[in-house]
Every structure is written in structure tokens, then in C-alpha cells.
């Protein structure tokens, strides 16, 4: 996995580099948007961490030029600005996620993992979450290598949660993703599917957290 960091503050670059390297990524760093565009043309990266406030062309412009290239690399925007406009603008022109400076490293690492996983699951048919593997083409699930029996609705709910690891997913959005047209699905039904999923996944250390009054969150898998 190769990550390109585009950031002009050397202290932050060295910190980021070492943290990401310790997570097992190969890291390259450049200090300007122009260099970033050039580097992305020459090499293939799995993720670009792009600072918005760069000297020369800013992060938005760099992002626009990156998006003009045929290969769509996931981009995580870093910014010291946090005006909502910047966030919306960044995501509008093709940023995949957004982290406001300063940030805690575990949070950044989690976002990096999520972005890379997401881009790979789009590329490949298999979604992996710790001991859980979802083969989205064959529609089969495996837990610790053993086939896992999932009802269609359970599968659908799990897919939504897996696409949003470490993010809170509201019951409403689960209903929207799971229910077919013209079908009424109550929040209680979602609770039932989640409790069934829990019963199946928790023995393997996969935790689905309840956020009271809101929804659920599939926590990052931690080796026991």
C-alpha cells in the first residue's frame, strides 16, 4: 500500500510519515500541489493525503488536477480551515474524506484504513473485516474461514455497516439502504436484524455498538 502525503509543514509530514509507516504503509511526501500532480502521474498510489492550504496551487486545485487523471485514487483532505464550505467544496470536487487539523493519530489512521478498504472493495468482490469475509459476488459470508449463514436482510444490514466501519449509521439510513421500494420497514425490525447479527458476529470479536436514539456503529476490529 502506497500513500502520498502532500503537506508543506515538515514537522507534520515527518509525524504522519512515521505513523503511517508504522501501520505498514509505504509513504512518499511532497510539499506542493504541483509536485503531487506530477508524482501521481508517474507512480500509482493507493491513497493521497492532501493538505488544502498549500503554497502555489492550493489543495482544491491539486485535487481537481488529480481527478482529471484516468486512475481514481482515493483522496483524504487535510485542512486547517473548517468552514463548512471548504468541506463541502472539497467533497464536491472529488475528495473522499476530510480531516480537520489538528487530529488524533488513531482517528487519521482509522480514516486511512477505511478509505483504502473502501477503494479496494470497489475494486474487488471481497470485503474483509478482521475474521469476517464477505464475498459480494457469490453473496457468501465466512467467519474465521467457516461459512456464515446470513438471511438476506441481515446481509444487507451488514453490508451497510461494513461500508461505514467506525462511523455511526442511523437506523433511518439503514432502512433506506435495506428496504425495497414501496416497503415499510420499522426501526424495530432493524433492531431485530442487528441483534441477530450480533449473536453471530460477537463470538468472533466483531462488535456492533448501539448509539442510543440514533443507530449503530461497526467498531474497528481489534485482535483479542
Amino acid at each position: 500500500m502506497r500513500i502520498l502525503i502532500v503537506e508543506d509543514d515538515p514537522v507534520l509530514v515527518s509525524g504522519l510519515t512515521r505513523i503511517l509507516e508504522s501501520e505498514g504503509y509505504a509513504v512518499d511526501a511532497v510539499r506542493s500541489g504541483e509536485q503531487a500532480v506530477l508524482a501521481a502521474k508517474q507512480e500509482r498510489f493507493d491513497l493521497v493525503i492532501l493538505d488544502v492550504g498549500l503554497p502555489g496551487i492550493d489543495g482544491f486545485e491539486a485535487l481537481r488536477r488529480l481527478r482529471a487523471a484516468p486512475h481514481r485514487v482515493p483522496v483524504l483532505l487535510l485542512t486547517a480551515r473548517d468552514a463548512i464550505d471548504d468541506r463541502v467544496r472539497g467533497l464536491d470536487i472529488g475528495g473522499d474524506d476530510y480531516v480537520a487539523k489538528p487530529f488524533a493519530m488513531p482517528e487519521l489512521a482509522a480514516r486511512v484504513r477505511a478509505l483504502i478498504r473502501r477503494s479496494q472493495s470497489q475494486a474487488g468482490p471481497k470485503v474483509v473485516h478482521g475474521p469476517l469475509v464477505l464475498d459480494t459476488v457469490a453473496r457468501r459470508a465466512y467467519l474465521r474461514g467457516a461459512p456464515l449463514d446470513l438471511a438476506a436482510r441481515e446481509w444487507a444490514v451488514l453490508e451497510v455497516l461494513l461500508a461505514n466501519v467506525e462511523r455511526v449509521v442511523s437506523k433511518e439510513s439503514i432502512i433506506q439502504a435495506v428496504a425495497s421500494w414501496g416497503e415499510e420497514l420499522s426501526p424495530n425490525a432493524i433492531e431485530v436484524y442487528v441483534s441477530r447479527l450480533r449473536a453471530k458476529l460477537e463470538p468472533a470479536g466483531i462488535r456492533v455498538r448501539t448509539v442510543r436514539g440514533f443507530g449503530y456503529m461497526l467498531a474497528e476490529f481489534v485482535e483479542p
Partner: protein, 462 residues
């Protein structure tokens, strides 16, 4: 408005002398052209009497005599208002008939077309006298006819009245028009001052010059200029704060990254404590930078409507929910939501910031195992539905006597643990004010224990 400074009183004071003078001049101007011909007409009547009397002078036996029958004399002397007197003098000046007491004409008087007219007194009354020279038997006799001045005085009075009354009415009308006209003329100014009075101190938008009366435009212009300068000064200060906070963040991010890296490595125990303190201080500084930025944004700027839109606060909460869930999980606090539709006019960035500060405080001060609930909803009041944003916890709460102080910047409740800057609630207060929302600090209604902060937004305009 003191009488000395009232525009109306001043105007009236200045108008009164010239109007009075004009009235006087008007009366005089009206008087003279009328009085001359009128007097001449009355004089002519006397002259006619004189001529008629002249016809009656006879020379009999070398002696002039007046042949006037009693009936004719009565006719001559008849007048509705005045007494008429006459005297006829022979060419040598001896009286021939009439009232003997009438004095002869003053010696200096020069006859004009055979007539001498003058004022005199007779029987203790002012009289008008004409002396008419009439031919008698080849010589010239004089007939004096006098008349008391009652008619003439009436005439003067009538003329003066008839010219004064309309001018006086015009003058009174002028004053009345000025009195009310000024008031009416000043209503745009009164409206203007109402408009300025009703302004929120955060509203520094220029006043619309088009609506101001022409004369007040320089004033409005000067006010707008002042508004502009104040807004500019505010904006500069905000920009400075925002830039400073912004510039702090990148080095802080670097600092945080490195302390976290250092902490992830095996370090000697003494060193670890120091590093942890550095790490905490970094996080606190970063938070402070964020808060300063938020404060700069929430402060009154040039345009309070900037960034405002009609939104559902519930969506804002939903959008940022997972920013706090991790923190709550890490602190073993049950963070829950109770979300209903809450439509209000607001600035999304500022509302997120207010929310972040409220939730941060709740998570900070609630002990492990506690509960924090974020609530949005709509409350119906007489004026319509009001959006509510509320965060409550079952932590120690804020004692009632401290509630008034916690909105002050950098104020911390005495004896509070934790690492707050004392800015969080001040920011929430500023943001509430910028939204025209009420901020209530209390305790959860159900348990009565803990802290509940509620923002109540104004009813959306229809």
C-alpha cells in the same frame, strides 16, 4: 425633546417676527390705496353740498343773504352717521348764514380747483371741513361744509379689518402648517431613528439611503460610513483571530503527531508522564485554537445574515454524531440521541460549533458510566413552532448561582476539575445570540440531577 432644541419651536420662533412684520406692511399697503379714493368720495359729497348751498346765495339790496328753506336745510343736514355743519361767507368774509361757530379756513391753505379741504374741530368733535369757492353775483363767496368723522372712522376700521383679517388668517394658517408640516416632514427622520433603535447591535449593514429624506441623506451617509468602519474593524479583528487560530493548527497537528508517536514507543516511565502532559497540553491548545476561531466567527460581524439559511438542526446533529461517539465510548459514557425535526434559520458552521462545545462539555464533566443525551425538536408556542437544541447529562451540573457567570469568557466554575478553557459556553452564548436564540441552563427535567443546556430558536418567519 427640549423646547429650546425643538426644530418646530425654533422654526416658529424664527418665522413669527417676519410674519408679523409682513402683516403690518401688508395692512399698510392695503390701507393707503383704498383710503385716498374713499376720503375723496366723502369730500366730494361735502363739496356737492357746498355747491348746492352756493346756488342759494342771493344779493338783495347790496347785502348777501342765504335763501334756504327749512325743509331744504333739513335735507342737506340729513346723514345717517354724521353731523353736518355749514357756514356761508360773503366775498368780504362776513358770515351770511349757517353755523356761526365754524372757524374760517386756515390762512395758509391753498384752494385746489376751488376747494380747500382740511381737518378741524367743531363742538369738541373732530370734523372734516371743505371750503368751496362759489361764484356769487360776479364775486366769489365761500361755503364751508363740515362733517363729523364717524363715517370716516368706520371706513378706516372697515378697510383695516378687511385687509387685516385675511392676512391674519393666512399668518395663523402658516404657523399651523409649519407646526404640523414640520412634524410631518420629520416623520421620515422619526422612522429612521426607529429603524436604528430597533437594530441589533450585531447588525452593521448600511441603512438604505433611498428611503431617507433628501435632507437626511448626509446624516444617513455619515451613519453608514460609521457602520462601515465599525464593521470593517470587527471584520479585521475576526480575520486576525481566525488567521491566528488557523495558522496555529498545522504546527499543533505536527506536535500532536510526534507526541503520539513518542508515546507509542517504549519510553522510560518518568519520561512517559512528561510526554503525556505534553500530549494533553497539545490537545488542549488545539481545542483552544478551534474555540478562538469559533468565537471569531460567532462575534457580531458586518452582516448577521451571512451564512444563514433555513435548516433542520436535526440533520446537523446527525451529520456530526460519529465525531463524538468514539470519545463517548472511550470514556464509557452512554451518548444517546433524541432527534425530532427542528427547523430554524441558522449558520450551519456556527451551530455545529455550538453543538460541539455543548457535547464536549457534557462528555468532559460526566463521569464514567454516565449518560449524555443530545435532543432536537420543535416546541409550539403562541407565535408558532420553535426549534430546540438541547444537550443534557447526569454529571455534577452547574449550581444555580453560577449559571449567570458561565457564559463569560474564560470563566470556570470554582472547584471544577477537567481541562476546560472556560470558553465553551461563552461560544455557545455568542452563537445563540447571533441566532437570536435563547440559552437556558438548567438540569434534566426527569432526574433533576446533572446539567441541561437548551437553545430555543426564534419562530421561523412565515
Amino acid at each position: 425633546m427640549s423646547a429650546g432644541r425643538s426644530l418646530r419651536v425654533q422654526l416658529l420662533r424664527r418665522l413669527l417676527p417676519p410674519i408679523s412684520a409682513l402683516l403690518a406692511v401688508g395692512a399698510v399697503i392695503a390701507y393707503y390705496p383704498v383710503i385716498g379714493p374713499a376720503r375723496a368720495a366723502y369730500d366730494q359729497a361735502l363739496i356737492d353740498i357746498g355747491l348746492a348751498l352756493g346756488e342759494r346765495i342771493r344779493l338783495e339790496n347790496g347785502v348777501y343773504a342765504l335763501d334756504l328753506p327749512v325743509a331744504a336745510e333739513r335735507v342737506l343736514r340729513t346723514d345717517r352717521h354724521d353731523q353736518i355743519y355749514f357756514r356761508v361767507l360773503a366775498p368780504d368774509g362776513t358770515p351770511v348764514g349757517g353755523d356761526p361757530g365754524l372757524a374760517p379756513p386756515p390762512p395758509k391753505a391753498v384752494p385746489k380747483e376751488g376747494v380747500i379741504a382740511y381737518d378741524d374741530r367743531y363742538a369738541d368733535q373732530p370734523v372734516r371741513v371743505v371750503g368751496v369757492l362759489v361764484p356769487c353775483e360776479g364775486k366769489v363767496c365761500t361755503v364751508q361744509v363740515a362733517e363729523t368723522t364717524v363715517k370716516r372712522r368706520h371706513l378706516v376700521r372697515d378697510i383695516v379689518l378687511s385687509s387685516l383679517v385675511p392676512t391674519l388668517l393666512i399668518a395663523i394658517a402658516t404657523l399651523v402648517i409649519v407646526w404640523f408640516g414640520v412634524k410631518r416632514g420629520l416623520t421620515p427622520l422619526a422612522r429612521l431613528s426607529e429603524e436604528i433603535k430597533e437594530r441589533s447591535p450585531r447588525d452593521l449593514r448600511p441603512i438604505e439611503v433611498e428611503h431617507a429624506p433628501e435632507e437626511a441623506k448626509p446624516l444617513v451617509g455619515a451613519l453608514n460610513d460609521l457602520f462601515g468602519r465599525v464593521a470593517e474593524a470587527n471584520n479585521n479583528q475576526q480575520r486576525f483571530l481566525a488567521n491566528a487560530a488557523h495558522q496555529l493548527r498545522t504546527p499543533l497537528a505536527g506536535l500532536q503527531a510526534h507526541t503520539e508517536l513518542a508515546l507509542a514507543q517504549p519510553v522510560p516511565e518518568g519520561c512517559r508522564t512528561e510526554l503525556e502532559q505534553v500530549h494533553l497540553a497539545t490537545i488542549r491548545t488545539a481545542r483552544l485554537a478551534n474555540q478562538l476561531l469559533a468565537l471569531a466567527r460567532a462575534e457580531p460581524g458586518g452582516n448577521p445574515e451571512a451564512g444563514m439559511q433555513t435548516l433542520d438542526i436535526r440533520r446537523i446533529v446527525e451529520g456530526v454524531a460519529d465525531e463524538w461517539v468514539h470519545r463517548a465510548l472511550a470514556r464509557d459514557i452512554d451518548l444517546g440521541f433524541d432527534l425530532g425535526e427542528a427547523r430554524a434559520r441558522g449558520n450551519e458552521f456556527l451551530l455545529r460549533e455550538a453543538l460541539a462545545n455543548l457535547v464536549h462539555n457534557a462528555l468532559e464533566y460526566t463521569p464514567s458510566g454516565g449518560h449524555v443525551t443530545v435532543r432536537t425538536g420543535t416546541r409550539a408556542v403562541e407565535a408558532g413552532p420553535q426549534a430546540i437544541l438541547e444537550v443534557e447529562d447526569d454529571g455534577p451540573g452547574i449550581p444555580p448561582e453560577e449559571r449567570a457567570h458561565v457564559l463569560q469568557r474564560f470563566y470556570r466554575v470554582p472547584g471544577t476539575l477537567g481541562t476546560g478553557s472556560g470558553l465553551g459556553l461563552a461560544i455557545v452564548g455568542e452563537i445563540a445570540a447571533s441566532h437570536g436564540a435563547n440559552l437556558e441552563i438548567g438540569e434534566p427535567a426527569t432526574t433533576g440531577k446533572g446539567c441541561r443546556v437548551t437553545l430555543i430558536f426564534p419562530v421561523l418567519p412565515a
